[in-house]
């Protein structure tokens, strides 16, 4: 069993590495797939494992974009002047400035978002269930609106970052591997985290928070740390997106509440909430569905996507992994009553 798993993981890793070279035409789509996997896995940390369904995780993505861009620009030029001129090719970046700014920007984005998660979390974690979802959604929408009125970061026009200094194809592969590296790190991280006492504690919060309180678990602290970890990765992913997209603006690409903000939730539900592989499987399925509808359902793709959300939520909420768990419980080490009874005889 353990050997099978090693083989499986090696195959997936190998495929991830060769994928952009085998399918060079799909470089950007594959990078986006990794982005979906990152946001789905991190959403599941709070939504699936801790029982706090955030509709505002997109806040970290958008904030990550802006923080990374502001750091990268601010290291070299005055941010206000830069955004005023809307980039426009007047401002040049050397390779060192570009890559150094990007590295610091992405890391800074992650850290800044973690801090944001702690601050917002300490205000909103007293909200439960639907109020938490609405509250976090409100934070994301409000921030988007405020940023689009903030001239220093380009207002509604957004920010145009410098273009990748190499040729186009290398750029695509470069960003693919940035996303893939974060995605793989997230996966390894959560796989480890869910096996620790920390994982058990957040599961306890999900299943009965009042009982967890009564057992003396530091519930608020665990909730804040979990969200901060999720925010760190989402913020970094946002930072990478900022450089990959080159130009981004607040409402449609950064704080895209009804696009990526809701997609990540649907990915998790489609794949199976509260499971390790669910978000990954869901992200792949969802991304496939989205790409297919975008290419073949001219104009109606959004309606199809809305329908997918409704159908997933209403009819298939346990997701692929939940369905498997129900059909093949022994694969997941779940024992049922008959087996015990059989052993006793």
């Amino acid at each position: 069993m353990a050997r099978n798993k090693t083989i499986l993981y090696s195959l997936i890793l190998a495929f991830s590495i060769v994928a952009p070279f085998v399918f060079p035409n799909f470089g950007t789509q594959l990078a986006t797939l990794w982005l979906m996997i990152i946001v789905a896995l991190t959403w599941d940390m709070t939504g699936g494992q801790m029982g706090y369904n955030s509709l505002g995780n997109i806040f970290f993505y958008g904030t990550g974009m802006y923080v990374a861009a502001v750091i990268a620009i601010g290291l070299v030029y005055d941010v206000g002047d830069y955004t005023n001129a809307a980039g426009g090719g007047i401002y040049k970046f050397t390779d060192l400035e570009y890559f150094g700014g990007m590295a610091l920007g992405i890391l800074g984005a992650g850290l800044f978002c973690s801090v944001c998660a702690i601050v917002i979390g300490s205000l909103t974690f007293g909200l439960r269930g639907p109020y938490f979802a609405i509250g976090t959604l409100g934070v994301a929408i409000a921030t988007g609106e405020l940023v689009s009125n903030w001239d220093w970061v380009g207002g509604g026009q957004g920010i145009a970052l410098p273009v990748y200094p190499g040729d186009l194809d290398t750029g695509k592969i470069y960003f693919y591997f940035l996303f893939a590296a974060i995605g793989i790190s997230v996966f390894i991280f959560v796989k480890w985290l869910y096996g620790t006492r920390f994982g058990a504690a957040i599961n306890a919060i999900r299943d009965d928070e009042e009982k967890a309180d009564a057992m003396g678990i530091h519930t608020l602290r665990y909730k804040l740390y979990t969200w901060a970890m999720a925010a760190f990765f989402v913020g970094m992913a946002g930072g990478v997106s900022a450089f990959q997209l080159i130009h981004f603006e607040p409402l449609e690409s950064a704080y895209q509440t009804i696009n990526l903000g809701i997609f990540m939730v649907v990915c998790v539900l489609l794949g199976g909430k509260g499971t390790l592989w669910g978000p990954v499987v869901g992200a792949i399925l969802f991304h496939l569905f989205k790409e297919v509808t975008w290419n073949y359902l001219l104009g109606w793709q959004w309606v199809a996507l809305g329908a997918l959300i409704v159908v997933t939520v209403v009819y298939f909420q346990d997701g692929v992994m939940g369905w498997l768990m129900h059909k093949r419980p022994q694969w997941f080490g779940i024992r049922i009553e008959e087996k015990i009874a059989g052993e006793a005889e």
Binding site: A204, D208, K211, I217, R335, I340
Partner: protein, 247 residues
Amino acid sequence: MTAIIEVRRVSKSFGGVVANKDVSLAVKSGTITGLIGPNGSGKTTLFNSIVGYHPIDDGSIRFEGEEISSFPVQQIARRGLLRTFQQTRIYGAMNGVENMLISLPHRKMKIWDALKTFTKEDYERADHLLEFVGLYEKRMLKSGDLSFGQQKLLEFAMALMNEPTCLLLDEPTAGINPTLINGLIDRLKRANSEFGITLFVIEHNMRVIMNMAESIYCLAHGQMLAHGTPDEIQNDQRVIDAYLGAH
């Protein structure tokens, strides 16, 4: 012997309804103390006040000499004062062992300890306590599938796993098959004598409480009616009247 819990002149009302009025009591360290009273006399409200579930209107509650009436539930729990619920609360989706592991005392845990996996000792301790309450055979079952009585035993084992100094039990025998009650009384007594845990028990079953407790308090209409040894309480006319409704 010193008092581990000291409740002094505690009052609590909900809207216009007075649930506790001027209640005072003391639970002595290392003993089993009972709390009885007719339905609606404010026993569970008093429990909730002690464990910090809601703020009290007036009075003082001390645990090991420290004023705890302004603390929230988790802080009090981390000081080693734990409670079980009248409506049993366990993690139904997890199996028995997982339930036990979650109950490891967090007050003894630093945040980096939380990033470790469970140790062999943790598992052994969980198995040992499950055996103590008689659930070892069922430890791998989803605990939501256990019978109500077994869930109560599991909750009790979880509380022991948390290594409390004092445990408040809200009707531990309610809903348990009468044939199992003797076994439960025996385990409660052993938890007290072997693990040295002070027990403070709400109980409706007179036979159980008279059998177990060294000292009993009786509440009626939110006020403290009587206090004494089981014999004294049994023969107290006011207690008998309160239960028969002659009050």
